[in-house]
Amino acid sequence: MNTRDLHRQFRDLFPLASAAALDPRQERLLDQHLRSCPSCAAEWDAWRALADGLRRIPTPQPSPRLVERTRRLAEARLSEAAEHRWNRSVLILLLVFSWVLTLLSWPLVRFASGGLLGMMDVHFARGWYAFALFMTLTWLGGGAAAALLSLQHRRARRFA
């Protein structure tokens, strides 16, 4: 490799070196070269000045009014999101609770109507199917209504 290529190879490293983005080996080699090459060192100074200049560009600041407005809106959105999460958790809990209650109510019905042994009866009567179907449809209908109401509510809030 001739001297010119060698210099060019090192100069190709200058942009990343000015951004402190070289690996340690490249950094060491470049450092060694710069100590022995005044022309590359002068060129490197210009790159370093550019990097320093970039770090010193004045920082534009948002207006206090914008920050305050953003804070208010974001707080409202955060409360809304928390409320939404809470409502969803309560809804899920209620749904599970209702299903448990529904399932538990059948043995109670049997107990009340057929005595203690009726509770252990594993044969499902036709009444159980009708009961389960009715409860499933009721809960599915309730769930769908809740989902539709929630969607409508969210849409109304978005356009408000």
């Binding site: 942009p15 990343l16 000015s18 951004a19 983005a21 210009a46 790159w47 000045a49 550019l50 990097a51 200049g53 970039l54 770090r55 010193r56 560009i57 004045p58 920082t59 534009p60 600041q61 948002p62 207006s63 914008l66 920050v67 407005r69 953003t70 804070r71 809106l73 974001a74 707080e75 959105r77 955060l78 409360s79 999101a81 928390a82 999460r85």
Partner: protein, 203 residues
């Protein structure tokens, strides 16, 4: 020693604020907005170059943060996550309003003021700072003329002082891409400055 202590305290403070925000604490939200307001606004302004659009995106970013903070993985770096949210919103906005602006440099309009010019002209500066300000103004103007993919990488590295790995996270790109963009952006910036000012401090 004290700088390390400050940095450590800052990191612990930040993690505490993020954890509080995830629990829905409104004070934590205010503290985070105060902590990031200048950096985030500057980054958005570098991306979209228009103060009104940057303000709108600043607001949208924090609204998105309030919405999505519960899904934020606390093991992730909050800086990277926040700047990714801001970047996605800004790029969507640019695609919507100026589809060409993601690939091409800004149309040269030397007569119009840049945000940096406006910032510099807000107050009268002492004589010994005017030269430095002019130099910064020229540099900021040259930076704003770079294509957005180059602008953002320079801003994240030099202004936000992010590590290359953090920049890769924000950009969703490999480290090699970040390095090549950084290199090209600096070369282009240098050429642009040389063509503007002739021989000077950057040539």
């Amino acid at each position: 020693m004290s700088a390390i202590t400050c940095a450590w305290e800052g990191l612990v403070g930040l993690q505490g604020e993020v954890a509080q925000l995830r629990r829905g604490n409104l004070d934590a939200l205010s503290q985070l907005i105060a902590r990031y307001q200048n950096r985030l606004y500057r980054y958005l302004l570098r991306l979209v170059r228009n103060p009104a659009e940057a303000e709108d995106l600043f607001q949208q970013t924090w609204l998105r943060v309030a919405e999505k903070i519960s899904s934020f993985d606390p093991r992730r770096n909050f800086d990277s996550w926040l700047f990714t949210v801001a970047r996605n919103l800004a790029l969507d906005h640019l695609r919507r309003i100026r589809p060409h602006s993601l690939d091409e440099p800004f149309a040269s309009d030397s007569g119009s003021e840049t945000p940096a010019d406006r910032l510099l002209s807000r107050e009268m500066l002492p004589l010994d700072r005017i030269l430095e300000s002019e130099r910064s103004g020229r540099l900021a103007a040259a930076l704003l003329e770079l294509p957005v993919v180059y602008r953002e990488v320079v801003s994240l590295r030099f202004e936000e002082e992010m590590k290359l790995e953090e920049i890769a996270q924000v950009l969703g790109a490999p480290l090699s891409t970040v390095k090549s963009r950084l290199r090209r952006s600096l070369e282009q910036l240098r050429l642009s400055l040389e063509s503007r000012g002739g021989p000077g401090e950057w040539s």
